[in-house]
């Protein structure tokens, strides 16, 4: 490539000893440095970040980690308490709870990630347009967002999930729609304050189009708030997903999710066995805790002013 040619020539020039210059740090070091800073500044968040990473790894490696098939019944071991063969016990039709909890992380995390990404992105783009164009479009959009926020999150998600019918895609859409107003509000205010900044004025003066101003000049500034928003809403998304599963409008059984496992436990009879209740709920709690604390840490690192506001 032409851009690297002069550089390569420079390196071969006689008399220039490379040892005089400090060696550039290897690539992996440059990537890891912010992680190191993060760990030093908030060890608590870094620890829970590792936990979150472990949970994501668990979801990815579910087929190899799970000791049994999560869908396969073993009629010789039905409703068995935790033992050496089944660490988390088995359910009413002899499925291994540990395997189901591990596989459940897959659906729960997939839905939470996709829903937050979709909802926050749509909201952010909408907010960006509102803040940038202002005027009548902005006023109408603010009303629409207000209507959407007039519903408690879970009620709105339930109604949408029910209307669209059960399935992974519909649950993702249902949760994503409840996340749109948050993205819209936050990014709109960022865009509003950026619109009047001198660098945007300068670009406009140079003849940049609206599209260029929005995507080249304002959008990059929205990335930090976007990341903060997305991580803080992951926990909420996981809880909504679990609640939908618990209420029977999430992913339908037999596919295990933490929510529908708890629902199954309650449907089984008057008194659900304790291990069927304890473990899926514990999985939800630890996951939400990990993502919330990681989100707090990322927020403090990227923008300490936002503490408590997102």
């Amino acid at each position: 490539m032409t851009t690297t040619a002069p550089d390569a020539g420079l390196r071969q020039m006689p008399g220039t000893s490379t040892s005089a210059l400090p060696a550039p740090p290897p690539r992996w070091r440059r990537i890891l440095r912010p992680v190191g800073t993060f760990a030093r500044r908030s060890p608590m968040s870094a620890f829970w970040g590792l936990v979150a990473l472990a949970i994501v790894a668990m979801a990815a490696a579910a087929p190899t980690l799970a000791p049994y098939d999560p869908l396969k019944s073993n009629f010789r071991a039905m409703t068995k308490a935790p033992s050496e063969k089944h660490y988390f016990g088995t359910d009413q039709i002899g499925r291994d709870t540990l395997s189901r909890v591990i596989w459940g992380s897959r659906s729960s995390l997939t839905i939470a990630f996709c829903a937050v990404l979709l909802g926050t992105t749509v909201g952010a783009l909408w907010g960006l347009a509102c803040g940038f164009f202002g005027g009548r479009f902005d006023i109408a959009s603010q009303r629409a967002i207000e209507f959407m926020q007039s519903f408690p999150d879970l009620v709105l998600a339930m109604a949408i999930a029910m209307a669209l019918g059960a399935g992974t895609g519909t649950v993702i859409v249902a949760i994503a729609i409840t996340r749109i107003p948050f993205g819209g509000r936050v990014i709109r205010s960022v865009a509003l304050s950026l619109r009047e900044q001198p660098f945007v004025e300068a670009a406009r003066g140079l003849g940049a189009s609206n599209k260029r101003l929005m995507f080249r000049h304002i959008l990059p500034q929205c990335i930090a708030p976007f990341l903060i928003l997305a991580t803080t809403h992951l926990g909420v998304a996981i809880i909504i997903e679990a609640s939908l599963g618990f209420l029977g409008v999430g992913i339908p059984p037999p596919t295990p999710t933490w929510g529908n496992m708890l629902s199954d436990a309650l449907n089984s009879g008057l008194v659900p066995p304790w291990w069927l209740v304890l473990f899926p709920g514990l999985a939800i709690t630890i996951t939400v805790l990990a993502f919330n604390l990681l989100g707090d840490g990322i927020r403090d690192l990227l923008d300490p002013r936002l503490r408590g506001s997102v």
């Binding site: 007039s150 009620v155 109604a159 618990f246 209420l247 939400v288």
Partner: protein
């Protein structure tokens, strides 16, 4: 003040109209056939075209959408909310019979959240970074992460295994049988109250920490008032304003949260009705209940806004 209330109410009416349109769009316009919901996918395929058409017109679903919407609005205005597909009880009766239980749960949980959250926040804010403060912060982070319905299931199981106790499942009338009612609502109220208390403690702590640093608090200390008096009469009233606003937002959280929590406890409140309606795909009941929840949420928020304006002249006079 009067003009402020009027303005909020006009906005409230507009919001309710908007909300009704959103509910209608979700329940009737989004893809998904109500007949599939009623008869199930298998039953639906067994119906002939003529049968489908006749059911649709019986239910009023073959009219143009705007007519359906107006018919629904008229029904709401007359207080006739239609019938469930699966039960003989009308939706209006259902709400009147089961609503009070959920309202009591919500009220008690808000009370509990303040009784737990505020003292804890004061202890925490007076000695930042002490062991008590760290404990409070840890607990509030924990209770934000714990799903309420799971906590509810654990409480039911623990009581059952250790004391053989199960809260009564029927017969709720606060006046006729207060003791049974209290047993029924106390569980869900504690679970929902703790969930809110976590948010309230966090907000009250940070708000108190800010207020304590203000000049007028230092002045009060300097003129010789005891620390307790300064906190109670000078710092707390101002620090509580954002907490009241948050409490209003959290009420929406209680309304929604009571749905899975009532299922976990088996409490026959409105939340449980909502659960039954959603699991039976009972479109009309769902439509009316979702609308009701949204209206209650909007009204509560207006109520909170008015309280805040009454307490804080800075907002009222803007």
């Amino acid at each position: 003040m009067f003009s402020y209330i009027l303005r909020r109410l006009v906005f409230g009416v507009l919001t309710v109209i908007g909300v009704s349109i959103v509910v209608f769009v979700i329940m009737r316009v989004l893809p998904g056939d109500p007949l599939v919901a009623i008869f199930g996918a298998e039953g639906y395929t067994k119906l002939t075209e003529a049968e489908r058409a006749s059911y649709m017109s019986q239910l009023g679903l073959s009219d143009p959408l705007w007519q359906q919407y107006l018919a629904w609005v008229q029904d709401i205005a007359r207080g006739e909310l239609g019938h469930s597909f699966f039960r003989s009880e009308s939706v209006a009766d259902m709400i009147l019979r089961r609503g009070p239980l959920t309202a009591q749960i919500a009220f008690l949980s808000v009370l509990l959240s303040w009784l737990v959250g505020i003292p804890v926040a004061i202890v925490s804010a007076l000695k930042p970074n002490s062991w008590a403060d760290n404990l409070v912060r840890f607990m509030s982070i924990l209770f934000i992460a714990v799903p309420g319905f799971w906590l509810g299931m654990l409480i039911v199981l623990t009581l059952l295994f250790t004391f053989g106790y199960r809260a009564p499942l029927t017969g709720a009338n606060l006046l006729a049988d207060p003791w049974t009612t209290v047993q029924m609502i106390i569980g869900p109220a504690i679970v929902l109250g703790l969930g809110q208390a976590a948010y309230i403690a966090r907000m009250a702590r940070s708000s108190l920490l800010e207020v304590i640093r203000e000049d007028y608090v230092r002045t009060a200390r300097a003129k010789g008032l005891s620390g307790r008096l300064v906190i109670a009469f000078h710092a707390l009233p101002n620090a509580l304003l954002p907490v009241i606003t948050l409490s209003g937002v959290l009420l929406g959280f209680v309304l929604a949260g009571s749905i899975p929590v009532e299922r976990a406890f088996g409490t026959p409140g409105l939340g449980y009705t909502m659960f039954t309606a959603v699991s039976e795909r009972d479109v009309f009941v769902m439509q009316n209940l979702v609308f009701l929840y949204a209206v209650v949420f909007v009204l509560l928020n207006i109520f909170i806004d008015i309280i805040i304006a009454w307490l804080d002249p800075r907002i009222r006079l803007r």
